[in-house]
């Protein structure tokens, strides 16, 4: 299971691009404004559409929040670009082949009335597949009454925020934890210095350290993000066959913890979780290169702007990417350092 590829036409910054994915970890890099988060959100919307209660096109709108909830506003804004389409293809398995779900719309489409194809076969094949999107900004500390506030239109958060809170609120884990899961949880506890608890009555998350509960807003933001990962591992959201989307995991995280985070991502991949990470961080990209072994399935995807919209370069290692803004910046800094030292 999992996602194999996406074809995007005239959608936001993309003009016409097909991107293939690894069934393991996909690291998306690129400068600001090349659509890293857009790519992750599109894939997340497709992953959420495996639930028959969720419509692909509606989920796209709820993840992107265009004005007046009009999917038409997501058509690439350039002359002659009136029709947009997004096609996501699944990996398939031994018994069932690949399936494709697509959404087509144009600059006159109302609300989320895109033409969606392949939704039934998609739901049938991928039924039960978990997927979760961790946004760049930490949100769990704002969990209290957020859903109600959003429903009443008091605040505006896209669905990735609402969904992550709902997933984290699941405070049970089925059966006994496997040894691998225990080990994984212990690794995360090294970073957060405790465990996560959820008070359903108060709708508040706490970090339990040395038998004392610390309110989430009092915990450092970086730690809160990692604590969220603990909760998702603990309650079984992140298990074999699920998909994790993580937008800029490095945000607010102590660089000293990045290696542990990368180790966790690699382990999750080994246990069958497909992962999509967008990053600007040198340490994440390099640690993945350094800590991986030959059997790990890892793909680096570099998005870059061209005259014909955003294109994607794929590489098996971080170093082999030709469009590598992280490495270019790193080397530029070194050149400046040397220039200053030799002045």
């Amino acid at each position: 299971m999992g996602l194999k590829s996406i074809k995007i036409q005239n959608f936001t910054v993309f003009e016409d691009e097909q991107i293939e994915f690894s069934s393991g970890i996909n690291i998306v890099v690129g400068t600001n404004g090349v659509g890293k988060t857009h790519l992750l959100k599109l894939l997340y919307a497709a992953s959420q559409a495996v639930d028959s209660r969720t419509s692909f096109s509606q989920k796209i709108v709820k993840c992107f929040l265009p004005d007046e909830y009009r999917i038409a506003r997501l058509v690439k804004r350039q002359q002659g670009a009136n029709n947009a389409s997004v096609k996501v293809t699944s990996c398939g398995n031994e018994s069932k082949g690949e399936k494709t779900i697509s959404a087509s719309f144009n600059s006159k489409t109302k609300k989320w009335d895109a033409i969606v194809k392949g939704e039934n076969a998609w739901e049938e094949q991928l039924y039960g597949m978990n997927s979760i999107f961790i946004p760049a900004k930490e949100i769990l500390s704002n969990a209290y009454n957020l859903n109600a506030a959003v429903e009443r239109n008091n605040v505006s958060f896209d669905d990735t925020y609402i969904d992550i809170i709902n997933s984290a609120k699941v405070d049970i884990s089925l059966g006994k934890n496997s040894k691998e899961k225990e080990k994984r949880l212990e690794r995360i506890e090294e970073i957060i210095g405790g465990k996560v608890t959820y008070d359903a009555k108060k709708e508040e998350f706490y970090l339990r350290q040395k038998n004392k509960n610390l309110e989430f807003p009092l915990v450092a933001e970086g730690i809160r993000k990692v604590a969220l990962l603990w909760q998702l591992v603990k309650n079984g959201t992140l298990e074999q066959g699920s998909i994790l989307f993580w937008d800029e995991p490095e945000a607010n995280i102590n660089p000293a913890y990045i290696s542990i985070l990368v180790e966790l991502l690699i382990e999750l991949q080994r246990s069958g979780v497909q992962i999509f990470v967008s990053t600007h961080d040198y340490f994440i990209a390099k640690y993945i290169d350094v800590r991986r072994n030959e059997l790990d399935k890892i793909s680096f995807l570099s998005l870059f702007q061209t005259e014909n919209g955003v294109k994607c370069e794929q590489g098996d290692s971080f170093e082999e990417l030709k469009h590598n803004v992280i490495m270019e910046t790193f080397l530029k800094l070194y050149q400046e350092e040397v220039g200053k030292a030799m002045a």
Binding site: V290, Y334, V338, A341, M342
Partner: protein
């Protein structure tokens, strides 16, 4: 026209330097006399803007994840640079005499800048910063006391700094 020289080290051609702007410390009288237990760089050269450059060349460097070997590599370099600095300083303050050109004895001690330069043959640019960081950490007291600095280069960046001959054969 003044005499110039080049220096072949670790598969690279350093130069061209004015003869009077280079001190081959390893071949010097003073080193022959006190050499036992003293480590030196390949050469010392004078550069524009009051710079005294201590230059060491290497064909390769160990991987940074091999901690023991890497630490030993950095430790040896630190010794080479600091010993060479002290040898030169001992000549400058006339504690020792040697066959050094007058140019080296006429630098303005108040404004002169000391540069410890390691050039590694065939190294990718992204492999250089961790080596420089490790050396800077070890040389921090020297850097603070004397205002010295450490630079780690490959052939391309050494050529940009006018340390390696400007010919196509030096291209990586």
């Amino acid at each position: 026209m003044k005499d110039v020289i080049t220096i072949e080290e670790s598969g690279m051609t350093f130069g061209d330097f004015l003869v009077d702007d280079v001190f081959r410390i390893e071949r010097s009288d003073v080193y022959k006399k006190i050499g036992q237990g003293i480590k030196t760089v390949e050469f010392i050269c004078l550069q524009k803007n009051d710079k005294v450059c201590f230059v060491e060349a290497k064909k390769s460097s160990p991987r940074t994840d091999n901690e023991e070997t890497f630490d030993a590599f950095v430790g040896e370099l630190v010794e080479k640079f600091t010993h060479s600095f002290e040898v030169w300083m001992s000549i400058f303050v006339k504690r020792r005499s040697s066959d050094i050109s007058r140019n080296f004895l006429e630098v303005d001690m108040k404004t002169v800048k000391f540069k410890f330069i390691l050039v590694i043959h065939g190294h990718k640019e992204e492999w250089l910063p961790p080596i420089r960081n490790a050396m800077k950490r070890r040389l921090m007291p020297h850097n603070k006391i004397w205002g010295s600095d450490v630079v780690v280069l490959n052939e391309k960046s050494a050529r940009d700094m006018n340390l390696i001959r400007q010919t196509e054969e030096n291209d990586i």
